[in-house]
Amino acid sequence: MARLLFFGKLADAAGARQRDLPLGDAQTVGDLVSALGKQEAALGAALQEKSVRVIVNEKMAARDSAISDGDEIAFLPPVSGG
């Protein structure tokens, strides 16, 4: 089980700001996004956008970063502060 966090417009796409999910066969961030896309095409497409950054356990990660049970995996759309 991993904890997924969705920020900004990605929370709208996911229908929640947070989701606890069994990782199944997914070994990387990319695997996880693909698996999600199979169930929810719109969410998968939103997460696949190049502008979306991924943070695993509060550290910047890439699509091929390894993930495992207990991880906190955050998906970040382009920021807009100030």
């Binding site: 920020f7 900004g8 417009k9 509060e58 955050a74 759309p77 920021v79 502060g81 100030g82």
Partner: protein, 153 residues
């Protein structure tokens, strides 16, 4: 000091405390951003700001570290509101104290450009006719790119 909070803040009181604690600095530049009641697409009823607690604060600390590397800064104050904000409410404030005004101006300018494009906030505009997530404008990216250009010159 970096403060991300749902609590409103008072810009005058913040500047007052900052400039007094920065005695000896000579130059203090502040930037205050307030929620605008009008956007391109109509009247704004409110803004809603989200952040990633812990990670957001560290992203700001990293921006502040970069500023201190580039300019001779005595002190900084960075305040950012999150949650729901109404028009005219203060949303962001940056203060920089330095011995010289040029350094204070440039560092404050830099901090704002980077807060707009690098700090981890997400902003939703709530209008009469609906709501939408805001992304940096082209001009914001251009502003931030000025400092990268400088680095390679």
């Amino acid at each position: 000091m970096i403060r991300v909070s749902t609590d409103p803040f008072d810009p005058g009181a913040e500047l007052s405390a900052f400039e007094k604690s920065a005695n000896g600095a000579g130059a203090v530049v502040s930037f205050l951003g307030k929620v605008r009641g009008r956007a391109g697409e109509g009247d704004v009823k409110a803004l809603y700001l989200e952040h990633y607690p812990g990670v957001t604060e560290r992203s700001i600390a990293e921006i502040e570290r970069q500023a201190r590397k580039r300019w001779a800064i005595d002190d900084t104050l960075i305040i950012h509101r999150v949650g729901e904000l109404k028009p005219d409410e203060p949303i962001v404030m940056v203060c920089v104290a330095s011995a010289h005004r040029r350094e204070a101006f440039e560092a404050a300018d830099f901090l704002m450009d980077y807060l707009k494009t690098e700090a981890m906030f997400w902003k939703k505009e709530i209008r009469e006719d609906g709501a939408s997530w805001i992304e940096p404008r082209e001009a914001d990216y251009r502003d931030a790119a000025r400092w990268k250009r400088d680095e390679t010159e």
